[in-house]
Symmetry: C2
Subunit: 105 residues, 2 copies
């Protein structure tokens, strides 16, 4: 496990470490969405949204398809949500240990 590999993994996590981007991914669970549709669904500004989409695209989490004026974004794969579910499982566990810690003190 080289330092370079660790940096790569960290960079992947960094893309998901942002509520706005998680919100975008969630909005894409229903299928393809254009940037304007995503803007309305998420309430994010257009420029801001565009940058987040760029991050997600560079990270390989979403793919896109241009059609006339519009750009349609869609999930690159569904593994992202497997990761998120593992995270949610962790959150429950953290809750338990937090309560343990509180009762300890």
């Amino acid at each position: 496990m080289t330092p370079e590999l660790l940096s790569l993994i960290a960079e992947r996590f960094k893309v998901l470490a942002e509520p706005a981007r998680l919100q975008i991914l969630q909005s894409l669970r229903g299928g393809e969405r254009t940037v304007s549709e995503l803007a309305q669904a998420t309430g994010l500004g257009q420029a801001n949204l565009s940058k987040h989409l760029q991050s997600l695209y560079n990270g390989g989490f979403v793919d896109r398809r241009k059609e006339g004026l519009y750009v349609h974004y869609h999930l690159a794969d569904r593994d992202v949500f497997r990761i998120c579910e593992l995270m949610c499982g962790r959150m429950e566990q953290v809750e338990r240990s937090r309560r343990r810690a509180l009762s300890r003190s």
Copy 2:
């Protein structure tokens, strides 16, 4: 999926979005380590390391046990590495699609 929940998930990811902390977790795969052992294994400064350990502890990724002068840290669970493996799988896939994109342009 409320905004608050998304923020919580994002915060979990943020803890893992740092090479130094991934390195610490990896060093703990072999079992318990004291802070000084971790400092030597990772090459991180002591104060810096202590803060990273605090993050990991607050995130519930590691647990600790005080014994005399020393504090022994250990992994809270092994699911972290399931998440990392999923991430690594993603990285291979990203490689493939990057090559696709290159050959497309």
